[in-house]
Subunit: 113 residues, 2 copies
DNA sequence: CATTTAAATTCATATATTCTAATATTTGAA
DNA sequence: TTCAAATATTAGAATATATGAATTTAAATG
């Protein structure tokens, strides 16, 4: 469960608008391919490609119901990920006062870009 | 803070082993470029490129201390992300019994790959 | 069995990412 | 000032990713 593929690879996979949308939908319940086609406005082949990639990574799975494939979420890490993706943050982290080693340095440094 | 760049773009950026390592180090405290060079075993230019990308995304920032640039973590979303990246999960999510709509279908569907 | 529907696969192309080598910039110190 | 150290930038090659069109597979149904 933790090591089918690495967390980095999971992140890479999730870091795509269509795939986040797919996973988010699946977090609400079972869906089949044509459902996604409608609401994502993507070609069938592309939806299928995304689903296949997510499945090979162990994030989702499906069961067969007639000629439908009903996809569902399988990996709990994804739920946590979706949760923080939707979370709002109020402020930035506090920056350090100065360099903790030399006790010098100004914050923030002056820079153009 | 929430909309400098989108969450998807942040994920894309974080989904790289070197950049995760950089962010994880920064979550423990301020570091300068040559620190990363040592412990990541990457070329200086490459480290610099990663840092620049992270900074342009608003995830990190630096201040100047002499000729050192002391980088620090700026974006709170990254902390949450790092936390779940390191979290262990015990089991998969429970799959549905059958198709919630048709009340049919077997789980899991038989498939070869 | 032929047809239709749902979904997957293959292949080609466009685009993006990553990394290296080389060069440039900035700053402190001799 | 000149030199060296710390870091950044640029350019190019290699690799990976994304997508669409066409084709294929599998199942249901007449």
């Amino acid at each position: 469960m933790n090591n089918i593929i690495t967390r980095v690879e999971i992140l890479k996979l999730v870091a795509h608008p269509a795939r986040i949308a797919i996973l988010d939908e699946l977090s609400k319940g079972v869906k089949c391919v044509s459902d996604f086609q409608d609401f994502l406005e993507l070609r069938q082949s592309n939806v299928s490609q995304h689903l296949t990639a997510l499945r090979h990574a162990g994030l989702i799975d499906y069961y067969v119901d007639g000629r439908l494939r009903c996809y569902f979420l399988k990996n709990p890490f994804v739920l946590d990920l979706l949760e923080i993706i939707k979370k709002e943050y109020e402020s930035e982290l506090p920056g350090p006062e100065c360099c903790p080693v030399t006790k010098k340095g100004k914050y923030p440094g002056i820079r153009k870009n």
